[in-house]
C-alpha cells in the first residue's frame, strides 16, 4: 500500500551532543524513500517563532543531496536551542518591559500554516517535558533521546553517549599519565548530574583508583584508605573520577562552607535555607572539594581537573553515527505507522516506540546490582562506599 505523502520537520531541543547530523541524515533518507518532504527547523522551535532572525526564514528544505557525507560530521546544520521554551518566550513588550509569554498556540498555528504534518524532535530530559506539553496540545510528534550522560529513561543507549565516553576515557588516560609523571593524585570531574554512567564506564576503561557517582553516596575516607593502600604497595600516583552530581554520604560531608549563611539572609530574601542538594552550583565544585579532602586525608598532593562540557563536543563515534541514523530512520518509521507522542528507544537488538511520557520524570541510573558496578568492584576500583 502506498504511504500518503507527508511533510515532516526535524529539530533539536537542548544542547549539542555528537551525532546530531547523523539523525538529520537518517530522517531525510528515510523520508525520501517514502516520497515525503523533509524540512529542518532552525534552533529548536526558534526558526518558527523568530523567522526574521534567519536568512532562510528559519526553516530549510532538506534533500538527500544535502545530507550526503553529513552523518559523520561534527556540529549540527540546524543548530540547537539549549534554553528555548515556547511556553515561556522572553519578549520586550510595547512598554519596553521584559516578560515571558506563552507562544505555544502561535507555534502550533505556524506549524499548521506551513503544512507540517509532524515534527521529529531530538530531546534531552528538559526538552522532552516541553515537547510532551506541545504533544498534549495537539502537536504530532515523535522524539529521539539524546544524552551524553545516557540518563534518558526507557532507552538503553542515547546517542551522544558513546562519543562522550570515548573522549572522556582518552582524557582520563592522559590525566593518569600526567598524575604518574608528577607523582600526584588527579581528581577528574566528568558530566553526570543524575547518572554516573560516564564516570563509571570511562573510569573502568582506564582502571581508575576510585569512581564516585551520584547513585552511590561517597565517603572520602574510604577512597583515601584505598589510595594509601596503593601507595604502600608502591603506586606513587592516583586517579579519582567524580561525576559532577556525586554526593557525600550523609553525616560525612567534609565540604568547606563557602559563605556565612547569616550574611546571605541579610542580603537576599529567601536565601535563608540550606543549599539545594540537587543543584550543581558550579562546574568543578565536586572535583575541587574532593581533591582538597583527599589531600588532607592522604598527605599527598592532589590536583582537580574538570572535563565537564568538553565531553559534549567533537565528532560522533561510529556507534553514535549508527545510532543517530537508526534513530532518525526509526522516527520516520513511527510516523509512517501513524504513531505520535512516542519516543524511539533502543532496546537491543530492537528499536522500539514507547509513549514519551514514560521517560518523563525518570532517569536511567546505575543500580547497585548493575553488572558495571560488580565489574568495577572486581577490578579493585573504589566506589567510595
Amino acid at each position: 500500500m502506498q504511504t500518503p505523502q507527508k511533510r515532516i520537520a526535524v529539530n533539536f531541543g537542548g544542547g549539542y551532543v555528537p551525532g546530531l547530523n547523523a539523525v538529520i541524515t537518517g530522517v531525510v533518507l528515510a523520508a525520501s524513500k517514502l516520497g515525503w518532504e523533509a524540512l529542518g527547523i532552525r534552533d529548536g522551535f526558534e526558526g518558527l517563532l523568530f523567522p526574521d532572525r534567519y536568512s532562510d526564514g528559519g526553516v530549510m528544505t532538506l534533500t538527500p543531496a544535502m545530507v550526503e557525507n553529513l552523518a559523520g560530521s561534527t556540529g549540527c546544520i540546524l543548530g540547537t536551542a539549549a534554553q528555548s521554551d515556547p511556553f515561556h518566550v522572553r519578549t520586550i513588550n510595547a512598554e519596553n518591559m521584559v516578560e515571558e509569554v506563552d507562544r505555544s498556540d502561535e507555534l502550533l498555528g505556524v506549524i499548521q500554516k506551513k503544512k507540517i504534518d509532524a515534527v521529529i524532535s531530538v530531546v534531552g530530559a528538559r526538552a522532552l517535558s516541553i515537547l510532551w506539553k506541545l504533544s498534549r496540545k495537539g502537536l504530532k510528534t515523535v522524539c529521539i533521546p539524546k544524552s551524553v550522560e545516557n540518563d534518558v529513561a526507557a532507552t538503553m543507549l542515547s546517542f551522544g553517549f558513546n562519543s562522550a565516553l570515548s573522549f572522556v576515557a582518552e582524557m582520563l588516560e592522559r590525566c593518569r599519565q600526567a598524575a604518574q609523571s608528577a607523582r600526584r593524585i588527579g581528581v577528574v570531574e566528568v558530566l553526570g548530574e543524575h547518572a554516573g554512567w560516564l564516570a563509571l564506564q570511562a573510569g573502568m576503561a582506564v582502571c581508575a583508583d576510585a569512581v564516585l557517582i551520584p547513585e552511590i553516596p561517597y565517603d572520602l575516607r574510604k577512597v583515601a584508605a584505598k589510595l594509601r593502600e596503593k601507595a604502600k604497595a608502591g603506586q606513587t600516583f592516583g586517579l579519582v573520577v567524580v561525576a559532577e552530581g556525586a554526593k557525600p554520604l550523609a553525616g560525612v560531608d567534609a565540604r568547606p562552607k563557602t559563605s556565612d549563611p547569616k550574611m546571605k539572609a541579610a542580603l537576599s530574601p529567601g536565601a535563608t535555607g540550606e543549599e539545594g542538594l540537587h543543584v550543581i552550583e558550579r562546574s568543578g565544585q565536586v572535583a575541587a572539594e574532593a581533591a582538597l579532602v583527599i589531600q588532607r586525608l592522604t598527605d599527598r598532593e592532589t590536583y582537580p581537573l574538570v572535563l565537564g562540557q568538553l565531553a559534549k563536543g567533537g565528532t560522533p563515534t561510529i556507534v553514535d553515527r549508527q545510532l543517530g541514523l537508526g534513530y532518525g530512520a526509526g522516527a520516520v518509521r513511527a510516523l509512517s505507522n501513524n504513531q505520535s507522542g512516542v519516543m524511539v528507544v533502543f532496546q537491543p537488538p530492537d528499536l522500539k516506540f514507547v509513549p514519551m511520557n514514560e521517560a518523563i520524570n525518570k532517569f536511567r541510573t546505575v543500580s547497585a546490582e548493575s553488572e558495571f558496578v560488580q565489574i568495577a568492584r572486581s577490578l579493585g576500583i573504589s566506589l567510595g562506599d
Partner: protein
C-alpha cells in the same frame, strides 16, 4: 491610556519578603519590603524569586525528608505530575525533585509539605498588613534616622499599591525610600515619587545596546524617566547606584558616563557602587533556573578602590576614606 500594572486594581500587593534591620539601602536602620515582578532580566540578578509577576513555587531540597519518611507531595497532589523521585524508595536518595517545565505554580503541594521544603514565593498583603509589620521597628528608625525601603523586583510595577504603601508610611511618620531600576511607564513613577523621601535608582549600563544584552531591555526609557524625575522632583533625594559586575561595567568609562549623566542635577546626592556578589546563586536552584553568571567573581578591592576614587573626586570627597 493608563498602562497596565502588575496586580492592577488589587487592594493588596504581591509581597515577596519583609526584611528587618537592613543597613545598605537608604539612611539609618531600615526595614526592606520586597515586591514581586520585574521588567528587566539582569543576568547577575541576586533575587531571581522576585522576577515572576505571580506567586511561584520554590523547592529547597535541603529541607526535604524524602519519600520514605514523608512522600505526601507525591500522592496525587500535583495536577501536572511535576513532582517525582529518582529511583525507588529503598535508595539512599529519595528526596523529591520538581520538573520545572511541568510545574504551573499552582501551589497545591505547599500545604502538604510538613518541612516547608516546598513553599511559595510571594503573597498578597494589604497596605496595613505590611505597615503593621514595618512599624514594629519604629524605635530603631527614630534612633538611626532610618525607615522603610521598598525594593524588588521592580517595586514600581505595582504603582498604586506602592503609592498607597508609601503614603501610609508617611502617615505613620516613617521615612520612605525605594530601590528601582526605573524601567516602567512614567505614569507609574508620577504616582509613586511624590511619596518617596529617597530614591535609590540603578544605572547598570549607559550604552543602550549593552544594556539590552545584559539586562534584557535597552535603557532609553530609564534615562528619559530619570531625567524627568530629577527635574520634576527637585526636592527629592536621588542616589544613583551601579551593581558592579566584573567584565560588564567595572570600568572607568561606565563610571564617568554615569557621573556625566547625574552630575548636572543637584538633587542626585550620591553615586554608590554595589560590588557584585554570588549570594543569589543558590536561589536559582530553588526555582529550577540556570544561573547564567556561573563563572563570574566579585570585583577586586583594587578595582573598587580605583572606581570609588573617581566618584569621590566628582563629589568633592577626594581623599576621604570610604
Amino acid at each position: 491610556m493608563e498602562k497596565k500594572q502588575v496586580n492592577a486594581k488589587a487592594p493588596t500587593g504581591l509581597v515577596l519578603n519583609i526584611q528587618h534591620f537592613c543597613t545598605h539601602d537608604g539612611p539609618g536602620i531600615r526595614t526592606n519590603v520586597f515586591l514581586k515582578a520585574c521588567s528587566l532580566r539582569c543576568k547577575w540578578c541576586s533575587n531571581p524569586e522576585s522576577i515572576h509577576p505571580k506567586p511561584e513555587l520554590a523547592y529547597n531540597a535541603g529541607k526535604c525528608i524524602g519519600e520514605k519518611q514523608c512522600g505526601f507531595c507525591l500522592k496525587n497532589v500535583c495536577p501536572e505530575s511535576a513532582i517525582y523521585v529518582v529511583g525507588s524508595g529503598d535508595r539512599a536518595d529519595d528526596k523529591v525533585r520538581i520538573n520545572w517545565d511541568l510545574c504551573t505554580n499552582c501551589g497545591n503541594c505547599v500545604p502538604v509539605c510538613p518541612t516547608n521544603a516546598l513553599y511559595l514565593f510571594g503573597q498578597e498583603m494589604s497596605v496595613d498588613q505590611v505597615l503593621d509589620e514595618v512599624e514594629q521597628d519604629s524605635a530603631f528608625y527614630r534612633e538611626s534616622g532610618g525607615g522603610m525601603t521598598v525594593s524588588g523586583g521592580e517595586c514600581q510595577l505595582q504603582a498604586d499599591f506602592l503609592a498607597a504603601l508609601l503614603a501610609g508610611a508617611h502617615q505613620r511618620g516613617i521615612n520612605t525610600a525605594i530601590e528601582t531600576a526605573s524601567n516602567v511607564p512614567w505614569d507609574f513613577m508620577a504616582k509613586v515619587l511624590p511619596h518617596v523621601d529617597t530614591v535609590l535608582h540603578d544605572i547598570k549600563l549607559t550604552d543602550p545596546e549593552r544594556h539590552k544584552k545584559w539586562c534584557g531591555a535597552d535603557n532609553t526609557r530609564i534615562r528619559a524617566n530619570l531625567k524627568r524625575a530629577y527635574e520634576t522632583f527637585p526636592d527629592k533625594k536621588f542616589i544613583a547606584r551601579t551593581p558592579l559586575i566584573p567584565g560588564v561595567n567595572d570600568d572607568e568609562e561606565h563610571i564617568r558616563a554615569t557621573l556625566a549623566f547625574i552630575k548636572p542635577y543637584k538633587n542626585v546626592i550620591d553615586y554608590e557602587l554595589l560590588p557584585y556578589h554570588r549570594f543569589g546563586e543558590g536561589k536559582y536552584g530553588f526555582l529550577g533556573r540556570v544561573y547564567e553568571m556561573m563563572d563570574f567573581t566579585s570585583p577586586t578591592p583594587e578595582t573598587l578602590k580605583r572606581l570609588q576614587a573617581i566618584i569621590d573626586e566628582a563629589f568633592g570627597r577626594s581623599g576621604a576614606p570610604r
